[in-house]
Every structure is written in C-alpha cells, then in structure tokens.
C-alpha cells in the first residue's frame, strides 16, 4: 500500500443506493480516482468492517463521502465514527444534504410508519401482528438487537459537522469529479460550501427563452394530465417546476427528459427554506385577484408540502409535522 495516497471512505445511511451508483457511473474516470486515492471503507463494494474503521487513528482518513439521511441510531453511530476518523466529511447527494426523499417521512412518526408498514398496507401479511423490537431474548438467553428507529429523519449536518455538500439525486458525474480534483489539488472553497453554482436552475435552463414576460397560471396541472411541450417553460404550461427555487448545476437531466424540476439540488445560499421560497414565487404567479378563484386554484394543488419540500423537508425551518398533530 502506498502511504502517500490519501485515504477515502464511502458510507451510506438512509438512501436508495443511487449515490453508490453515481460513484460507479464515473466509469473509466473511477480508475483515475482509484489510482489517486486509497479506498479504506466502502460497505457496498468492499469487504471492510466497522472494526477496521475503529482501529484507524483519528483523522487518518482524508475524506469520507457519506450519502443518505440519518433515520436510525446505527447510522448516527457510524457517521459519528467516520467524523472522528476523517479530516473532511462530504455530504454526498440530496438525502445527506437535505434529508431527501426519506425525509418526507417527517410528516409521520415511528408509530404511524410502523403501523402502516406492519399492519395496514394492502400487501401486509402479518397475522400475528409482529413488529420489529429493538431487543429480543432467544430461548437460549442470547440477546438480539436492532437499531433504534427515530421519529424524525435528519440531514447529515444535523447530526455531525459537515465540511462540504455535493447536491443532487444523485450528484452528477462532473460535480463529483470536480470535487475530487479540488480535494487532490487542495483547491477547495471555504468550509460549508455546496459544490455547485450558486444560482437558480432557471438561469441555466434552455426553456427560459420561452418564458413569457409575465407568467400567469390559471390552472395547475400534473405532468401526466397533459401532453407536455418539449420546449416551453413548464410554469408557462401550468406545471409545477421547482426551477426558480432550486440551485443549478445538475445539467438539467429532468428538463432534458421533458419533466419539470423536482428540486433535488436544494436552495441557493440566499434561501433558508426551499419550500417556502417556492411557494412564495408560485403563489404570486396565479393569475387572478378573486378570492374564490384563488381558492379554486389552490384546491388543485393536491399536496403542496410534499411537492415543495420533496427533497428538503428535514432541512426546512419546521423540519417535520408537529408531533402532537401526527395521527
């Protein structure tokens, strides 16, 4: 093993595996990465164990890339361990950056989620009503344990100190390569930076040219309800597109596929709360001054919180539904 090479770790928490795919999707570029660094921990691909990490000296890993939100006590334990062993921690992807899709569970709590998953879904087959327990003693006295399932899902920096953020679901290849090169060349921006341009998606969107001077929405439609024009601004078509409140740098993968932006890159640095900011912009372009008409249009927006905070609920100001109101 070449001692000169910086040590790198990858870890996943509450995530879908897409971020791991994103690393593999570097394709031949991954060879450059592998040549330049020494991967010391990567559960999805390499057979290292927790005890191997525990045996390392503190701050001996140059950088840990952690994807996924924190929803279990085990994940918290692992990210705390990696924080201790690493000089830099990167929140990799929307879930660790903002809470991501798993963060939508913050509209419920442990009890309601377990009730749904283990009792009431149409496909649940659980005649004895068994629910996972944190601890179970076998007949021979052996104790089995499971991690604690939190009521709330957390973004990574709500649990440990994070140095940099790679946004996206999943982060695009060029941003990953740029970040790795910046680490290797020692050209990282100040701590806390989101490694993608600090402007909104609309700034880069090709469809911006087709946006009328004054956007005016009289009816909100969902993408499957209409034949989408492949060139026209989505908002001008009455389709909710998160572009105005979302950071750019994604390469407009969704727009290219004729789907509106869903907001996975999170807000720009000037915004605290992506959902509220989008709501502000969106409500103001509804094209009516009549109270009745406004209410009629608002009725057609089925799930505003779920839509506007699709990736950022744990990272929003309120973070979750009020506990007392969860039923």
């Amino acid at each position: 093993m070449n001692v000169q090479k910086p040590k790198v770790a990858f870890y996943w928490c509450a995530s879908c595996g897409g971020c791991e795919e994103a690393v593999v999707d570097l394709a031949e570029d991954i060879l450059k990465v592998v040549e330049a660094v020494d991967i010391v921990f990567w559960p999805v691909a390499l057979d290292f164990k927790k005890k191997d990490v525990e045996a390392m000296e503190d701050s001996s890993i140059a950088v840990s890339f952690i994807n996924g939100a924190v929803r279990l006590s085990e994940q918290r334990e692992m990210v705390e361990l990696l924080r201790k062993k690493s000089r830099l921690v990167f929140a990799f992807g929307a879930c660790s950056h903002l809470g991501g899709i798993p963060g939508l569970a913050n509209f419920w709590n442990k009890e309601t989620i377990f009730n749904r998953a283990y009792h009431t879904t149409p496909s649940t087959d659980n005649p004895d009503g068994i629910v996972p327990q944190e601890e179970h003693t076998l007949d021979d006295g052996k104790i089995l344990t499971l991690p604690k399932f939190f009521d709330t899902v957390y973004a990574l920096d709500q649990v440990i100190d994070v140095d940099y953020y790679l946004p996206g679901c999943c982060p695009p290849k060029d941003l990953i390569v740029n970040a790795i090169m910046a680490i290797l060349e020692g050209k990282l921006p100040p701590k806390g930076a989101v490694l993608s341009p600090n402007k909104s998606l609309c700034d880069d969107c090709k469809r911006n040219e087709t946006k009328p001077e004054k956007l005016a929405i009289t009816e909100v439609k969902r993408p499957w309800e209409v034949m989408l024009d492949p060139e026209k601004c989505f908002l001008a078509q009455g389709i909710i597109c998160m572009g105005p409140a979302t950071r750019t740098g994604c390469g407009e993968r969704c727009i290219e596929a004729n789907m509106p932006c869903r907001g996975c890159f999170g807000p720009t640095d000037q915004v605290y709360d992506q959902g509220a900011k989008f709501l502000s912009a969106f409500a103001s372009i509804l094209d009516t001054n009549s109270e009745k008409e406004i209410e009629k249009i608002v009725d057609t927006i089925i799930d505003p919180a779920g839509y506007f905070y699709r990736f950022s609920l744990p990272y929003s100001i309120l973070r979750r539904r009020r506990m007392e109101a969860v039923k």
């Binding site: 509209f107 939190f150 709500q158 900011k277 103001s284 799930d303 309120l318 009020r322």
Partner: protein, 147 residues
C-alpha cells in the same frame, strides 16, 4: 397551564401604508386592545415572505397576522393580491405541518380603520387563547442526541 392563564404570542406583519397607520390610529385614539400582537412594520403585505411566517411559528408564535390595504387600495397596485394568494396556499401547506389554518390570519385594515384593528387583534387573541399554545417542537432533535 390552563387556557385562561395562557397569553398567546402573535406576530403581526403590518403594511406601512394602511394597516400600520391604522394600528397607530387605534393608539392615538386611545382605543384599548389586546397587547398580544408584536407588530413588525413592512413596506407592503406583498413583502411578507412565507419564510417569515414559518420562522415566526418555529420561534414560538401561537398565531401570525398579516394585514394590508384593502383590495384595490395597495400602494404598489397589487402587493396585497400577492399576499392573498400566498396566504391561501401557505394556509393549506401549514395544515400539512399540523398548524391549524385559524392560527394564520390575513386581514385588510385601512389607515382609517383603527377600530377594525382593535377588533381584529382582540378577536384573534381570544381565538388563540381558546385554541391553546402551538408548542412547536424542534424536530425531535433530542431523541437523536440521546440515542
């Protein structure tokens, strides 16, 4: 704490042209009204970013009031219409967070309507007193720290 003894905290965003002047009129006319509203003067009800409202609830407000010029009277032509649209959509969204829509009010108060400001404040305070405190939890942070 019983609801009788509970004093609701209300954050009120008042536009400088109409409602703030209306509130001032209530004061100079020596009308008494509930002292529960913490008034924040803004240039226009259309200036009230939904983030302000959400932050107010998060920081301990039991109710939030936005007050501006009557429809058609906005100093900036249509700022109050923007406030109206945002209010309706934000009310719906706040309910998804477990914040009842009765806790978030939009009222039109002109510069001449000191009495209306008095009435709105008193009514809103009484309504919130009946509803009880919002007690916003801060996302169960402790649960994760304790685990």
């Amino acid at each position: 704490m019983s609801h009788e003894a509970f004093e609701p905290k209300i954050v009120g965003f008042l536009c400088t042209w109409c409602s703030y002047t209306g509130a001032d009129l209530a004061g100079t006319a020596r009308m008494t009204y509930a002292p529960n509203v913490r008034i924040i003067r803004v240039m226009c009800s259309g200036r009230v970013d939904p983030q302000f409202v959400i932050k107010a609830f998060h920081e301990g407000a039991d109710g939030v009031l936005i007050s501006g010029c009557h429809p058609g009277d906005c100093h900036y032509q249509e700022g109050n219409y923007k406030a109206l649209r945002r209010h309706r959509l934000l009310s719906k969204m706040l309910e998804q967070f477990g914040i009842e829509k009765e806790r978030f009010r939009l009222e039109w108060v002109s510069a001449a309507e000191g009495a209306k400001f008095q009435q709105v404040t008193n009514e809103f305070t009484e309504q919130l007193r009946k509803m009880g405190p919002l007690k916003w939890n801060d996302g169960g942070k402790d649960e994760c720290a304790e685990a």
